[in-house]
């Protein structure tokens, strides 16, 4: 098991190298002069441009640039963005907000998705099941920005239950609404996945045997149906956590959350190469770690799976 975890961490190395190389190359081959983004409309003097080129290694060929960047990362120096702020500081500043939002969204989608899915699965074909299925289909079908603006308008502006946008402090109550919007689509998937899984397991032979032992209905459902049904759901939730941690560009944009997604979006607009590469790399690592977490959770939930 230890060996397995070590191996998984070693696997992160080629993933990291490949991802940074790819992203670096894409940013490098963007058309236009990177210094133009820094200098803005008025332009800079040729001397300043040359200075900037040297500062960001833009005068070097691609490979040298990339290797210099790697050297920086390995010495825990992500460099500065085009505005001159250290990139590590910016990530440290925005990531906690995104993480908070992601975890809130995950809890919402997990709790509601599993509970609703369990009830729907046990009452397959009844009214509750059918209506929940239709509702979840609507949630999946409507684009997230429509849902986001709709809820922002209804709850934030009309009913004024919460602030329509999130302030710099990003308090729990402010983040609640964006978290609901963010979790909504995954909630629909979790619900459907749980429901299918429950329906499959409720007719399993071992469930019948458990009933024949004289266990109460409640115990049969919780101990024998639910636990087995959660295995695919947990896999989905883990992968979703990785995606949520990467920030939600649309949702963060709608609610003006100062998170990873918003920062990345601005960096792309500004053509801020170092910033884009660093954030994307960071996100890839987070995603890989989330996946590792899923695999370990999976082994814990299903004893038949043993990693060696």
């Amino acid at each position: 098991m230890v060996w397995y975890i070590v191996r998984r961490f070693l696997q992160l190395i080629p993933v990291f190298l490949g991802a940074t190389l790819l992203v670096y190359f894409l940013v490098f081959s963007l058309p236009g002069d990177a210094t133009a983004a820094i200098c803005g409309e008025r332009g800079c003097t040729p001397a300043v441009v040359a200075g900037l080129r040297e500062q960001y290694n833009l005068d070097q060929p691609f490979w040298i640039q990339y290797l210099l960047y790697l050297k920086g990362v390995l010495t825990f120096d992500l460099g500065t963005n085009f505005s001159g702020r250290p990139i590590a500081t910016i990530i440290a500043e925005v990531f906690p907000t995104t993480a908070k939002l992601a975890i809130m969204a995950l809890v919402i989608e997990a709790v509601f998705g599993i509970v609703f899915g369990l009830i729907a699965g046990l009452r397959k074909g009844k009214i509750f099941d059918s209506s929940v299925l239709v509702l979840s289909l609507i949630v999946i079908a409507v684009p997230i920005f429509v849902l986001g603006f709709l809820m922002q308008f209804l709850i934030g502006v009309k009913l004024q239950w919460t602030n329509p946008t999130v302030s710099g402090d990003a308090t729990f109550t402010e983040l609640l609404l964006p978290a609901v919007v963010l979790g909504l689509v995954s909630f629909a998937y979790v619900l459907r996945l749980t429901r299918t899984s429950i329906i499959e397991n409720v007719n399993a032979d071992y469930v019948r045997t458990a009933t024949a032992k004289g266990l109460s209905r409640r115990r049969v459902v919780v101990v024998h149906v639910l636990r087995n049904s959660l295995i695919p759901v947990v896999t989905f939730l883990g992968a979703d956590l990785g995606a949520l941690m990467g920030g939600a560009i649309v949702t963060e944009g709608i609610f003006n959350v100062n998170g990873v997604g918003n920062t990345l979006y601005r960096a792309v607009l500004n053509g801020d190469g170092p910033m884009v590469v660093s954030i994307v790399t960071f996100l890839i690592l987070i995603f890989c770690l989330a996946n590792l977490l899923v695999d370990l959770l999976y082994a814990w939930l299903d004893p038949r799976i043993r990693y060696a």
Partner: protein
């Protein structure tokens, strides 16, 4: 569960009584009756067997007794009386009270009836706990040890997937009997197990239920097994009880036509019959399907010599250990005859079949087909070889492509090997369907529209499409009901004499071997321990293993009166 029903002292009140029971399933096509007018009584301490083929309603009837019908099933008529109490429409609460403590169950398939994510001990403990019995670790270990599980205390900490099939079934028996129920419903408790394990488990179940005075409702498809184990046998057919009575009486004097057919074709009884008849001086050949033993002594179509297969098993930290699945096995198949390789699961018999088919490479040794060693064949020669040696596999549900209709399934090998034109191929498919006694109208149907027996006929037609010389049957009839099994075995025998085929029959079922094989090779743990003609092996088994296998055939202990034999 001995045959001593004679001495019942107290006024006998039946423990379980089903009166005119009818069970209906509601499906999208309306109500379908599954069981009609089922009538049976089980006295305290008595063993009653329900016999029937799959779909006869035997399991449904028994499950209804503890309220375990599937969600769409219901008791539509009649009543279930347990120990004088009418529980037909008892409350959920009352049924939960009865389950486990008064009525226990041992289910059919040990592979799917234990929850894979909980330890064995946990699954025993919750049973004891739910029925208000002490459930400490020593209580759990005691229950498991009673069911014959060795080293029970530490075994309780393992998960189901770390248990063999036999051990799992012991755990399920432990669970079923843990709360000392007065009635045990045993639903095909051993049909998924090897014969020797089957015998051990059934013997153990017998001893336990006798000691505890538990009544047993045994559900089985094997009439021989039922007759051997039960006081009373009930035969069900298409949802109805067609015949009931003491076991031996049913065997000697079956009155209903279905029971007569069942008695005539049950392999365990058929093989008993051959034995009794031999004692009476009848030659085996007259009783068996026709086969050509005499002429084929010299012409050997397949010769296997010192065949060995070693698998590497991956261990932790990158180590690997060798596992010898097949160890220096030598045998040969004479043209036009049937050779059976017999063994229990894990004996390496299927690996032998795969190597002979060229699907698995041999580690060492040779397989000669018509004098040519197939382990040295190139790609093209291998392709030609495949044409002459064809397989029929065990599971007729899994081995046919569900997206191919029957015509395409049978025609595919012809097309792959570029045989004839489209018109000629169609003609050939019609001929093949005719040979396996299927109507040619079936060509456009898909596998899911066919019964198990029909599918296996399709699999045979496909195997015969390329006019092979050798057909390798890997447990080809094991998944089928006895009557269908008999039909398929007859079909195979007919095709053999018609087309001069040679069969390599891989099976765990000795009763089947006796009916079809000319030669038998017995495998144990990768080694070939005994071989000879079927009569030699069955009459004078030389190794203890073969003797144990033979003794384990259900029905072996039956004392059949001469008129049945």
């Amino acid at each position: 569960m001995s045959h001593s029903t004679g001495h019942q002292t107290a006024t006998p009140q039946p423990l379980l009584e089903l009166r005119d029971l009818a069970i209906t399933f509601s499906t999208s096509n309306g109500d379908v009756p599954a069981v009609r007018n089922a009538h049976l009584t089980v006295m305290p301490g008595e063993t009653v067997a329900i016999v029937g083929e799959s779909g006869s309603g035997k399991s449904t009837t028994a499950l209804a007794a503890i309220g375990l019908l599937p969600a769409n099933g219901r008791v539509s008529n009649g009543s279930i009386i347990f120990d004088g109490e009418d529980i037909t429409h008892a409350s959920e609460k009352r049924i939960v009270e009865l389950r486990g403590s008064s009525i226990g169950m041992v289910p059919q398939d040990p592979m799917s009836n234990l929850n894979p994510v909980w330890k064995i001990g946990f699954q025993v403990r919750e049973t004891l706990k739910a029925n208000g019995l002490p459930s400490g670790p020593q209580d759990v270990a005691k229950v498991l040890a009673e069911a014959g599980l060795p080293d029970a205390a530490s075994r309780a900490n393992q998960y189901p997937h770390e248990f063999s099939g036999g051990m799992r079934q012991r755990a399920l028996i432990a669970i079923g009997l843990s709360c000392r129920p007065r009635l045990l419903i045993a639903d095909e408790p051993t049909s998924a197990l090897d014969v020797t394990v089957q015998r051990q488990i059934l013997d153990h179940l017998d001893t336990m239920t006798e000691e505890l005075g538990t009544a047993v409702l045994l559900i089985t498809h094997d009439l021989g097994l039922a007759a051997e184990r039960a006081h009373k046998v009930i035969v069900m057919y298409k949802g109805q009880v067609v015949e009931a009575g003491p076991a031996l009486k049913l065997l000697t004097n079956p009155r209903h036509p279905y029971t007569q057919k069942l008695v005539a074709s049950a392999p365990s009884i058929a093989s008993r019959r051959i034995e009794s008849a031999k004692k009476a001086g009848v030659r085996t050949q007259d009783l068996l399907a026709p086969s050509v033993t005499a002429t084929a002594a010299l012409d050997r179509v397949i010769e296997v010599e010192d065949l060995t297969k070693v698998f590497k098993i991956r261990g932790s930290w990158g180590t690997s250990t060798d596992f010898t699945a097949v160890d220096k096995v030598s045998f040969s198949i004479a043209r036009g005859t049937t050779t059976a390789v017999v063994g229990e699961s894990g004996s390496g018999k299927s690996t032998v079949a795969k190597m002979v088919l060229g699907l698995e490479g041999a580690t060492s040794g040779s397989i000669r087909f018509d004098g040519v060693d197939i382990t040295t064949l190139g790609r093209k020669e291998m392709f030609d070889f495949r044409r002459r040696v064809q397989p029929i596999f065990q599971d007729p549900y899994g081995s046919l492509d569900p997206m191919y209709n029957i015509y395409r399934t049978i025609e595919e090998p012809l097309r792959v090997h570029g045989v004839g034109t489209a018109k000629m191929r169609e003609k050939k498919v019609r001929e093949l369907l005719d040979q396996v006694a299927l109507p040619s109208a079936m060509m456009q149907r898909f596998p899911n529209e066919l019964s198990g027996g029909q599918r296996q006929r399709v699999a045979i037609a496909r195997a015969l499409a390329l006019d092979p010389e050798v057909v390798i049957c890997d447990e080809a009839v094991s998944a089928l009901d006895v009557l269908v099994q008999a039909q398929i075995l007859n079909l195979l025998a007919d095709l053999q004499s018609e087309l001069g085929l040679s069969y390599l029959f891989i099976t765990h079922d000795l009763a089947v071997v006796r009916q079809i094989a000319d030669h038998v090779a017995v495998m144990e743990k990768g080694k070939l321990v005994e071989q000879g003609t079927t009569d030699q092996v069955f009459d004078n088994p030389t190794t203890a293993y073969t003797q144990a296998l033979l003794a384990a055939i259900p029905g072996a202990a039956l004392e059949l009166p001469p008129e049945v034999a």
